[in-house]
Every structure is written in structure tokens, then in C-alpha cells.
């Protein structure tokens, strides 16, 4: 009875209407904001949104027996296999692994990488990223990865694929769309985009 009476009061109705109007307006304005934000898809980070990543991290156990390796395929001269070895193309074994005994082969090579996790050689980036101690960093990245990366990083299945994908140049690597933020060190395994160099 009290409730009914209360509902009849004009100011109550007004407040209800006002609140719903505010909700309506803020949600539409927010939507608009979102479309603006989406233009720079990857700079956006929605705190309530987390991508459902399912990466199985390898423990970096080199004693594990592997008969067949995946490797980074694309390199001009270098390749990185899934155990983190970087080698020259001529030192690649038939099973796709690097020849560990070749003089130039190195595991977990971070030679061209800077402190911010950006490297000038893609293969070094992948190798460095495969280092077991980078797991925490990568997990943190996955937890806060932006929505624009959702497609990519939910499809990634293990540590190696994650490193292959993370090290590639992406929307985070560019300024003004058609120039690299840092043309020297553009392959990043770390969380932050390459350091911005003036054009």
C-alpha cells in the first residue's frame, strides 16, 4: 500500500524517469566512445574483459625427447626451433630442429633484444621469449591483452606458438599507420610496444 502510494508520487516517477534517461544516455554515449576507442583497437584495455587464453607453457625441460620440431619457417638466414635454439638455415636438421652441435647454434638467444623486450631480429625475439623465465611476463600480457588481440591469442596453443605470434610486428608496432614506431627494434616479446622514435 505504501509502495503503491509512493509510486503515484510525481517526484518518484520523475526520479525513475530521470535515472533511466541517464542510464540510456550514458550507455549510448559510452557506445560512441567505444567506437572511437576501437579505432585504436589495441591501445584499448577493458579491465573487466579478459581473453580466455589456453596456452600450455613448456617447462623448458631440455631433457624432453623431441623427434620432430616446429620452427619459425620464415627466416632469411636464421631459424628458431621450438626448443629455443637459433641456428642458421644450413644447420637445420631434417626433423626441423636446429643442430645443437653447430657452432653458431644458441639456445635462448637475446642478443639483439633491448631491455624493454624488443629485438631487432625476429628469430632472437622468439628464442628469447621461449626462455622459461619469460613465462610470467607472457601470462601477465595475456591477462591484460587487448580485445583486438583476442582472435589471435585465444587461438594460440602453446608457448612456442605464443612466442611466434607475440614477436611479429602488429598494430602496436606502428605510428601513423605506415611507419614503425622503432624500425630498429620492432619485434617485441614484452608487454610494451616498441619505443616511439620521432620520424
Amino acid at each position: 500500500m505504501v509502495l503503491r502510494r509512493l509510486l503515484r508520487k510525481r517526484w518518484v516517477l520523475g526520479v525513475v524517469f530521470g535515472l533511466s534517461l541517464i542510464y540510456f544516455l550514458t550507455s549510448t554515449l559510452k557506445q560512441e566512445e567505444r567506437t572511437i576507442r576501437d579505432r585504436t583497437l589495441l591501445q584499448a584495455r577493458d579491465p573487466e574483459h579478459r581473453i580466455a587464453w589456453k596456452v600450455r607453457f613448456s617447462l623448458g625441460n631440455s631433457s624432453r625427447q623431441i623427434t620432430q620440431c616446429r620452427n619459425s619457417i620464415q627466416g632469411q638466414a636464421l631459424l628458431t626451433d621450438e626448443l629455443g635454439y637459433v641456428c642458421e638455415r644450413k644447420d637445420l636438421l631434417v626433423n626441423g630442429c636446429c643442430n645443437v652441435n653447430a657452432p653458431s647454434s644458441r639456445q635462448y638467444m637475446c642478443k639483439s633484444c633491448l631491455l624493454n623486450g624488443c629485438c631487432s631480429v625476429y628469430e632472437h625475439c622468439v628464442s628469447c621469449c621461449l626462455q622459461p623465465d619469460k613465462q610470467l611476463l607472457l601470462e601477465r600480457f595475456l591477462n591484460r591483452a587487448a580485445e583486438g588481440f583476442q582472435n589471435l591469442f585465444t587461438a594460440v596453443e602453446d608457448h612456442f606458438e605464443l612466442c611466434l605470434a607475440k614477436c611479429r610486428t602488429s598494430s602496436q608496432s606502428v605510428q601513423h599507420e605506415n611507419t614503425y614506431r622503432n624500425p630498429q627494434a620492432k619485434y617485441c616479446y614484452g608487454e610494451s610496444p616498441p619505443e616511439l622514435l620521432p620520424i
Binding site: 510525481r10 530521470g18 540510456f24 549510448t28 583497437l41 589495441l42 610486428t169 599507420e177 605506415n178 611507419t179
Partner: protein, 1059 residues
């Protein structure tokens, strides 16, 4: 009632605040009330004008603190706190800025200081990390439309508003215009209307053999695809990479493309069983960004796509992140097929990424095997000015009036190279599924098979048709007998073969000429990376006078990904200086790649290819007949803004065709050849040529600066008899500032780095003869020597020697028109000058103020007759009487009424220039580079006879196509039926590519709808309440306690405003 007004006012505040909030984000905070006008247009005649008013006001107590560098939010607040600690300010705080950028370091902060603002500002300014403190401004922008008839056909302001329209665009065409590829309308009606393009290419033969594309993953990068389209049975995944929250195709472009590849019913595609992966990278407004592509491409690599169709292109081959990513993609064994572009029939219009060596670039033909008018053509312009462009497109196929899937259902027909591209992508998918050993299929081997099997079209040159028309069944045969190997594109060099080897065949070579360069692409099917073993060997055939030519070879140090270049420079040996005849030989190249499936470590696959060379030699022509084209000072497509030479061409603001005699100056070149001149190209500084060989140096529309050494050398050359013709163009700094625009794609302002030509630099060059161009900007029709002429945005001559001949005309002052929208006619504008230098045997100089009439792009009336007349003057010293006795002849201008143009302050020419480099203060010329030096290959003569037919010899080695047989090969006859009246041949894509439009559509329609909705709701309540008020009697019987109810609103109205 007061309640209602309150809500209305809140609503109004909210809605007005919204746009102004957006305004502050981009407002430059430095201008107050600067109105700019922009036009909304229907075709050429504007009806509505959109006026943008812009004003700013200072917000009290708020200040922008700008730091010396980029710091994190924590560091920034720390700096401000420490700066304010010393002052008396107590009541201050940092205004939170909640936007995506706030996660990243920034160089400014907004601070609110309520008390003792003065001292605190001073103490803030003293802090070492703080650059400056300025008051926060609020920017208001309002838009209003007003009717703007009568139709005045020039609107300068709107055209630059739209951003670079020539960026990546989807390559399909609207209806109507391109519909008529045949020239006779009667013939069009009886044109072959194909049932399916797949059937014409005899895909059904492969279908009958059980190959339908199964197991091949195809990525379609386009405008998306709706979920339940009836034509597709195997859509594996759809992903969206745009800012529109949909996966569906709102344009029909993506559906059509996917249909040509994989539709299974009605208009059948090539590979109905292939696995389709739809990547939506293009919005319904045809907007896309490089960054979207980068992420989508990464996903395609992760998902291990086999074939990728990109019916999208743009001129920006200097977009390194994009180009690198495409290389990365093909390096990961994704076969990229891309459309060559719809900018034909102009030459020099190839689009990226189709112009890359590792990508299969597809041009379009109609069903009568004519190159479609729209198909982009001409060599690539990457290699200019020192080198020569590559052969592209790789292959052509049907792209005009092809039928494919409609947006929701059914079939439509569409034209454009974006149609031709999926035809090849579909064929590639189908072909890939026929190969048992998939290991053998890679981007190079597929391309090798396609170009080796393509059928050459008669009468079309290689820069239009590439290797010819796609032949699916022959490609099947080649691919199924394929052994990993290297091959060349083009596979031979015959400089005498016309028309296929145009432009090489249009001018024989002779002793003393600039070396002829042929840019051959090496395709390496053996592996993603490879190298050339030792050095290529030049073997002249002695019986065929091979020793009469010298050959120099340069090549990519590493062939990656799957391809590299092999540049052959050919020159005539001294002993053939007065010889005429044909010389032949070949270049032998061995390519090696690491063997991946070899059991022994370090094994290599090798492949040796022969490149036959055949050239026609003539005796060296006389000096007067030889014209040198200055290419070095013309800039090819740069990432900077070099405006069009004709300011009226609004939808095409950039000058991007390379300015080469074989791209957009092709007609001029053909004309000069037909007049008997020999035209050579100077791809190095002016200091690098022997001027005694040439009659005339032709400098047209140069954007580049000049080395001081060049200026000195040219002056000496002219004293010794070299003549110079300069076709200049406009340069006016006010106009340049006016034509700047905001580019949505790169999100920055584009300010021109030169005008149409670099007039200040040209003035430096010609000043030694007492000549100069002005900063005027003129336009108009006139008659000169009985020829109709059109002056399209050119300058005038400001200074000329007394004894020269100067022709003046009456023109419109276009500068005034651009700047103030006023029309003014100017009499006696000096536009042409002829001058004989006084020294003994000295050369002659001719200046003309506009280059548009010899440029193929946007040319309205050609002036080749004028070029002839000028060449007559420069080469032979004969002044045509029509010019020397013209009634328009005037006394040469000696004093400058107008100031000579100064270089635009703050221009970025040095970024793209080969001459300037950034220097403290002003850019300075670099040290003069060394002239290019060719090291001629040591010939290894062969005493054997050359093969008689060069191009019919096998393009791929060890391919035995006869081994692969096809069951019941039947001749396919396309059905011919007349076009029924209601049926349209082409189909519309609404509007052009307008990247700038997207903002209005997404950003502004939602609040408008919200506003309208809110107003409707509000109106309803207002009506309800007023009704209640005006009829209190009706309420009485229903309400039990009227007294209470009537009082209660009164008691509350006093309070509500304070809420």
C-alpha cells in the same frame, strides 16, 4: 513542471556537451573563430555547403602542464607534486583523463588549481621536467548547412578534406562507366554472357577428376560474409578486424569475392570444397587501416592459410610495416593473390601489394580478351630513378562482367580487378588441391606454374598483360609435373620484339646511349630463401654478333622470400658505334637454396637458368636527335604529400605515377619517338652525363632540389651547346598551406612538401641566365599558334633576358580563386620563353610554366605540337614563326612585380629527397654522390647459334606437360545470348572510397538517434503531465486522497532544483 524543465535542461547540457568533448580532443587550441568551409557535393555541382565554426574559450582554474618528454602517469603526478610543494597551493588536483592513451606515457597533464594559481604556475614552470604551462581551453565547434546555389564549379576547400583517397581501396568498379569495355554499343548487347567464369576456364574438367579444392585453406580479406549465405558450405571461420561490430558483409564485395572462389551453387566458384576463412578488414564505408591488416595477417599466419586473396590495393609501397608483413606472410608459405588496381589505362598505376615480387598480381580482361580499360599497368616505380621497373601484372584473367554471389542470395555481375583476383585465387586453390605432394606447392612454384602456362594475348605489351591470360588446365599440367627450380620473369629479353616488349622495342640501342636496363624477377621454387651462386655469366653468341654488346648484371644478394631481382644493363660496345644489326647472347644464372628434406646437413638444391638476350643496334644518332629526360629530379611516389600538377583534379590529390617516360609521360615519349627523336633517361645527377652527346635536356615537373655542382655543370654544358627545356608547374606557399588536409589513415596533417613542381629549386638552376618563374598560379583556355591550349595550374615567367622571345596569354588567377574564391582575369601572363645563349655555339633554353599538357594523368588538351616547336628551337635553332611573330609576343619581364617563390617554411622535402639532408636549422645539400658505375660482365663467348624463337622455348625446365593427361578435354564454347533489357551488366558499389566519412556514420548517427529517442520519450511525458495539470477534475474521482496528492508536488517542487 519545474521538474520537466530541469530534465530538459540536463538533457540539453548532456547533448551539447558530448560534441564539444570530442572537439577538445582534437582541437589545436591555437585558433579562435577561424571558420573553414567544407562542401558536401553532388558530383561536380555543390548544392549544400557545410560551415564549421570553431571557437575556443579558457577554462578557469585548469591548466595544461607540458613535460619535456613522455612519462608515466605516476611520474607525472610526482613531478607536479614536487613542483607545487614549494608553493602555497593547497587545493589542486590532476584532472583525470580516462581514455585509451592514459595507459601509456604522455607528455602533458591537466591540473586544476583553485587557490593561489599565480605562484603555483610559476613554481610549476620552474620544475626542470616541465616545459610549459598553458591554460586549458574549451573548443566549440558548430556545423551548419546552407544552400549554395548558384552552381559555381570550383570549390577548393572540400577536396582536400577527404583524406588520401588513393590509399588502400577495394578494387571493384561501379556500374555504367566500365560496363562498356567494347567500343561499339551494338556489340555490347551481343556480348558473351558467361554462365560461370569457372566453366569458361574449364574448371569442370578438374571437378570431374574429383578435385574441388578440399583440404586447402583460403583466406578472404575483404568486407566479410553473412553467416547463412546459401552459396557456401565450408565457411570455417569468420573474424572481424575492423571497428564495426559485425561479421557480415554490408557491401557485397566480400560475398562476391568469396563466391568466385568457393560458391557451390548458382554462379559456381572454383573450389567449393575449400576451407573458407573470412577476414573482415574493410568496413562498410570502405575504410581500413594498416594496423588492422597487420593483426589479421598475423592470425592468417598462425592459422596456416594456404591461399590468401586480397582484392584490395593502394599506391603506398612505402608503407614498410605493410610491405614487410606481406613478405612475412609469403615466407610462411601463404600464396598471396592480389588485384593490380583499377587505375588504368594510365601507366604507372600499379597497386601494392600486387606489385610485389612474391605476390601474384592479377590484371583484368573482358570476355573478348581485351585488356580491361580499368586494369592498372606500367612498370613498378619502386626502382626509380636509378633503375627500371619490374614486369607486372604477372597474369591477367576475366575481370569484366563476371558473375558471382550476391550479398544475400542469387548472383550479380561485377567488374574490376578485384574480380579478377579471386578468379586466380580460386584457380590457385583448385590447383593446390590437385597436387598430391603438397610440399611442392609454395608461393613461388604456384606463380611459376601460372606464368609458364599462361597464354599470351596478341598485340598487347608485357606491362599490360604480364605473361598472358590464365590457362587453368595447362597450369594443372605444369604444376603436376613440377620439380623445384628457379625461373625468370620475363623469361627472355628480346628488345626487338614488338609490341610485347614495349617500350624496349620502341627504340633501338646505340653506342654512347644510357644503358638499357631490364629488371628481371627470379622466382625460386626451391625454398623461401636462396642465393645466386658465384656470378651470373654473360655468354654472347659469336655468329649472332653477341660481342657487339656489353652486359652488366646486378642481383639481390639474398633471394627472399621466394624471389629476387636480376637487373640486366645492356650497352653497345664501341666497335659497333656505326654498326646496324641484331646481337644475341644469354645470361646464365645458378640459384641455390638450402635443401630442407635432405638427410645430410648443409645440402643444397641448385638450379641453372638461361636468359636469352636479343637486341637491335643502330648507329649512334646525331646529337640534335637525342633528348635526355631528367628522371633524377622527379620524385616517385613518396610517403610525403606532393600535390597534383592540376589543382582541379580533386579526387586524386597525389602525384604518384613516377613521372617517367614509360609511365605517365608515355604519350609524350611515343610522340617524340614518332618525330624521330631518341629519348634516354638520366637516372643520376646532372653531373653524371656527357652533355656533348645530347641536343636537349628535358626537365619536366621536377620536385627535387639540385646539388650546387649540378648547377655549375649545367651552366657549362649550356655554354658548350646543350639546350634545356623546362616544363615547370605551380608553387605558391599560400596555396600550399591551403591545400593541406587531415589524413584519416595516418591520423596527421598533410602539408605539401612542394607545389606542383619545386619552382624555387628550378629558379636556382635557371637564375644564371637571368630567368625565373613566379609564384603566380594561373589557369585557363587560350589559343596559341592556332592550337587550342589549356593551362592547368601553372606558374608564369617572372624574369627573362631582354633578347629572348616571350609569349604571354590572358589567364585566370587561380591562386586568388583557391584562396579567396574570387575570379580574376589577368592579361599578359608570360608563360613561354625562348632564349639563345650569347656564347659561341651556346645552347638554347626554353621555359614553359605548366607541365600538365604533356602529362598523361588528367590531361585535357595535349601540347605535343609545342614540344615539337620547342625541340625544333633547342635542337636546330629554328624559331617557329608562329611563335616569334605571334601577336601575343611581349617584351620579356625584367623586374619582378611579384616576389619570386620562397621555399615553404617547415616543409619536409628533405625526408624524401636524394639531395637534401636534415641539418640543424635548414636542410643542406648532401655531398654529391658518386656517379653509378657499371662493371661489365666478362663475356664468355659461345660459338653457337641462338634458338630461333625465344619465347616459345620452355619457361620451366624439366616440366613434361604431356605426361599429365586430362580426361575428356572438350572445347568449351561460351554461350552467347543478348542482354535482356532489365539486366544490368555491372553492379554498384555505392560511393567512392571516402575514409573520412566513417566518422560521421559511426560517431554521429548514434547520438542523433539517441537524441531523437530521448526527445520522443520526453515529449510523451510532457504531454502526459500537462494533461494531468489541465484536467484536475478528472483525477478527483479516481484518487482517494486528493488533498495529499495536490499538496505533495508543491512540497517537493521547492526542493528538486537543488538535487
Amino acid at each position: 513542471m519545474a521538474l520537466v524543465t530541469l530534465w530538459i535542461s540536463i538533457l540539453v547540457v548532456l547533448l551539447c556537451g558530448g560534441p564539444s568533448l570530442v572537439g577538445t580532443e582534437s582541437g589545436d587550441a591555437n585558433s579562435s573563430a577561424s571558420p573553414t568551409a567544407a562542401g558536401l557535393h553532388c558530383q561536380n555541382c555543390p548544392q549544400l555547403t557545410l560551415k564549421v565554426d570553431f571557437s575556443t574559450s579558457i577554462i578557469e582554474h585548469e591548466y595544461i602542464v607540458v613535460f619535456n618528454g613522455y612519462f608515466t602517469a605516476r611520474a607525472r603526478s610526482h613531478f607536479i607534486a614536487s613542483a607545487l610543494r614549494s608553493s602555497t597551493a593547497l587545493d589542486w588536483h590532476i584532472v583525470p583523463r580516462d581514455n585509451p592513451a592514459s595507459d601509456y606515457p604522455s607528455d602533458f597533464e591537466v591540473v586544476q588549481i583553485r587557490q593561489a594559481a599565480r605562484e603555483s604556475l610559476l613554481s610549476l614552470q620552474d620544475h626542470p621536467y616541465i616545459k610549459r604551462v598553458t591554460p586549458q581551453r574549451k573548443v566549440f565547434r558548430s556545423l551548419n548547412f546552407f544552400d549554395d546555389s548558384p552552381c559555381n564549379d570550383t570549390r577548393w576547400t572540400q577536396k582536400w578534406q577527404s583524406s588520401r583517397p588513393l590509399r588502400r581501396t577495394s578494387l571493384s568498379l561501379g556500374s555504367g562507366f566500365w560496363h562498356a569495355t567494347g567500343r561499339h554499343s551494338s556489340r555490347r548487347l551481343l556480348r558473351a554472357i558467361p554462365r560461370h567464369v569457372a566453366q569458361i576456364l574449364q574448371a569442370d574438367v578438374l571437378w570431374q577428376m574429383g578435385h574441388t579444392g578440399s583440404g586447402v585453406k583460403v583466406a578472404v580479406f575483404d568486407t566479410g560474409l553473412s553467416e547463412k549465405h546459401p552459396h557456401f558450405k565450408n565457411v570455417k571461420e569468420r573474424t572481424n578486424w575492423t571497428n564495426e561490430k559485425t561479421l557480415d558483409d554490408g557491401l557485397g564485395h566480400g560475398t562476391f569475392v568469396a563466391g568466385v572462389i568457393a560458391s557451390m551453387r548458382e554462379c559456381q566458384g572454383f573450389a567449393p570444397d575449400s576451407e573458407l576463412h573470412i577476414f573482415r578488414v574493410f568496413t562498410n564505408n570502405q575504410v581500413s587501416y594498416t594496423s588492422w591488416f597487420l593483426d589479421a595477417f598475423n592470425y592468417a599466419i598462425l592459422k596456416k592459410m594456404d591461399v590468401l586473396n586480397l582484392s584490395i590495393g593502394g599506391p603506398d609501397f612505402m608503407d614498410h610495416p605493410f610491405v614487410d608483413k606481406v613478405w612475412e606472410l609469403t615466407a610462411n608459405r601463404v600464396i598471396m593473390v592480389s588485384a593490380i588496381g583499377n587505375d588504368g589505362p594510365l601507366y604507372g598505376t600499379l597497386n601494392n601489394p600486387a606489385d610485389q615480387m612474391d605476390v601474384i598480381g592479377v590484371g583484368g580482361i573482358d570476355f573478348e580478351d581485351n585488356i580491361a580499360r580499368f586494369s592498372s599497368r606500367g612498370m613498378t616505380t619502386w626502382e626509380l630513378p636509378g633503375g627500371y621497373g619490374r614486369l607486372k601484372p604477372d597474369i591477367v584473367t576475366y575481370g569484366s562482367g563476371v558473375r558471382g554471389s550476391g550479398m544475400k542470395e542469387g548472383c550479380r555481375s561485377l567488374s574490376g580487378t578485384s574480380v579478377a583476383s579471386p578468379v586466380v585465387a580460386g584457380a590457385v586453390t583448385l590447383l593446390a588441391s590437385t597436387v598430391l605432394n603438397r610440399e611442392l606447392v609454395n608461393p613461388a612454384s604456384m606463380k611459376q606454374a601460372l606464368i609458364a602456362s599462361a597464354r599470351r594475348l596478341p598485340g598487347v605489351n608485357m606491362f599490360e598483360q604480364g605473361h598472358g591470360k590464365l590457362d587453368l588446365l595447362r597450369a594443372y599440367q605444369v604444376l603436376n609435373s613440377y620439380q623445384p627450380q628457379a625461373s625468370l620473369s620475363p623469361s627472355y629479353i628480346d628488345l626487338s620484339e614488338c609490341p610485347y616488349m614495349w617500350p624496349y622495342c620502341s627504340q633501338p640501342i646505340y653506342y654512347g646511349g644510357m644503358p638499357t636496363i631490364v629488371n628481371v624477377t627470379i622466382l625460386n621454387g626451391m625454398g623461401v630463401t636462396g642465393r645466386i651462386v658465384d656470378k651470373p655469366i654473360w655468354q654472347p653468341y659469336l655468329p649472332q654478333n653477341g660481342d657487339h654488346i656489353d652486359v652488366a648484371v646486378s642481383y639481390s644478394p639474398i633471394l627472399w622470400p621466394w624471389a629476387g631481382y636480376l637487373a640486366i644493363s645492356i650497352s653497345v660496345a664501341k666497335k659497333a658505334a656505326s654498326w646496324e644489326g641484331i646481337a644475341q647472347g644469354h645470361v646464365m644464372v645458378t640459384v641455390a637454396s638450402p635443401a630442407e628434406n635432405d638427410s645430410q646437413v648443409g645440402g643444397e638444391l641448385t638450379s641453372t637458368v638461361k636468359l636469352p638476350v636479343k637486341v637491335k643496334i643502330v648507329p649512334t644518332p646525331p646529337r640534335s636527335k637525342r633528348v635526355l629526360w631528367d628522371q633524377y629530379h622527379n620524385l616517385r611516389y613518396p610517403p610525403g604529400y606532393f600535390p597534383r600538377d592540376n589543382l582541379r583534379m580533386k579526387n586524386d590529390p597525389l602525384d604518384w605515377n613516377g613521372d617517367h617516360i614509360h609511365t605517365n609521360f608515355r604519350d609524350m615519349y611515343q610522340h617524340l619517338r614518332s618525330m624521330g627523336y631518341f629519348v634516354e633517361v638520366l637516372g643520376s645527377p646532372i653531373t653524371c652525363f656527357d652533355a656533348s652527346q645530347y641536343g636537349t635536356l628535358l626537365m619536366v615537373d621536377s620536385e627535387e632540389e639540385y646539388f650546387p655542382e649540378e648547377i655549375i655543370k649545367l651552366r657549362r654544358d649550356v655554354e658548350n651547346g646543350l639546350s634545356v627545356i623546362v616544363f615547370s608547374d605551380w608553387y605558391n606557399t599560400s596555396v600550399m598551406r591551403k591545400v593541406k588536409f587531415y589524413d584519416e589513415n595516418t591520423r596527421q596533417w598533410w602539408m605539401p612538401d612542394t607545389g606542383g613542381a619545386n619552382v624555387p629549386a628550378l629558379n636556382d638552376l635557371v637564375s644564371v641566365w637571368g630567368m625565373a618563374f613566379s609564384d603566380g598560379l594561373y589557369e585557363g583556355d587560350f589559343t596559341m599558334a592556332d592550337h587550342d591550349m589549356y593551362y592547368a595550374s601553372g606558374c608564369s615567367i617572372a624574369l627573362f633576358p631582354d633578347d629572348g622571345i616571350v609569349i604571354a596569354q590572358t589567364l585566370k588567377d587561380q591562386g586568388l580563386e583557391v584562396l579567396k574564391q574570387e575570379t580574376a582575369v589577368v592579361d599578359n601572363v608570360p608563360i613561354l620563353g625562348l632564349y639563345q645563349t650569347p656564347s659561341e655555339g651556346g645552347g638554347r633554353i626554353a621555359l614553359y610554366g605548366d607541365s600538365n599538357c604533356i602529362d598523361d594523368s588528367h590531361r585535357q588538351k595535349d601540347c605535343f605540337w609545342l614540344l615539337d616547336a620547342l625541340l625544333q628551337f633547342t635542337a636546330y635553332g629554328m624559331t617557329p614563326p608562329s611563335l616569334s611573330h605571334s601577336k601575343n609576343r611581349m617584351a620579356p619581364p625584367t623586374s619582378t612585380e611579384r616576389p619570386l617563390p620562397e621555399r615553404l617554411e617547415g616543409n619536409h622535402l628533405y625526408r624524401y629527397s636524394k639531395v637534401l639532408e636534415a641539418y640543424l636549422g635548414d636542410p643542406k645539400p648532401r655531398p654529391l654522390p658518386a656517379c653509378p658505375h657499371l662493371s661489365w660482365a666478362k663475356p664468355q663467348p659461345l660459338n653457337e647459334t641462338a634458338p630461333s624463337n625465344l619465347w616459345k622455348h620452355q619457361k620451366l625446365l624439366s616440366v613434361d606437360t604431356d605426361k599429365v593427361t586430362l580426361p575428356n578435354m572438350r572445347a568449351y564454347r561460351p554461350q552467347v545470348r543478348p542482354l535482356s533489357p532489365g539486366e544490368s551488366g555491372a553492379w554498384d558499389i555505392p560511393g567512392g572510397i571516402m575514409p573520412g566519412r566513417y566518422n560521421q556514420d559511426v560517431g554521429q548517427t548514434i547520438p542523433v538517434f539517441a537524441f531523437l529517442g530521448a526527445m520522443v520519450v520526453l515529449a510523451f511525458f510532457v504531454v502526459q503531465l500537462t494533461k494531468v495539470r489541465s484536467k484536475p477534475k478528472r483525477r478527483k474521482p479516481r484518487v482517494k486522497r486528493p488533498l495529499f496528492l495536490q499538496q505533495s508536488p508543491q512540497t517537493h517542487t521547492g526542493r528538486t532544483p537543488t538535487v
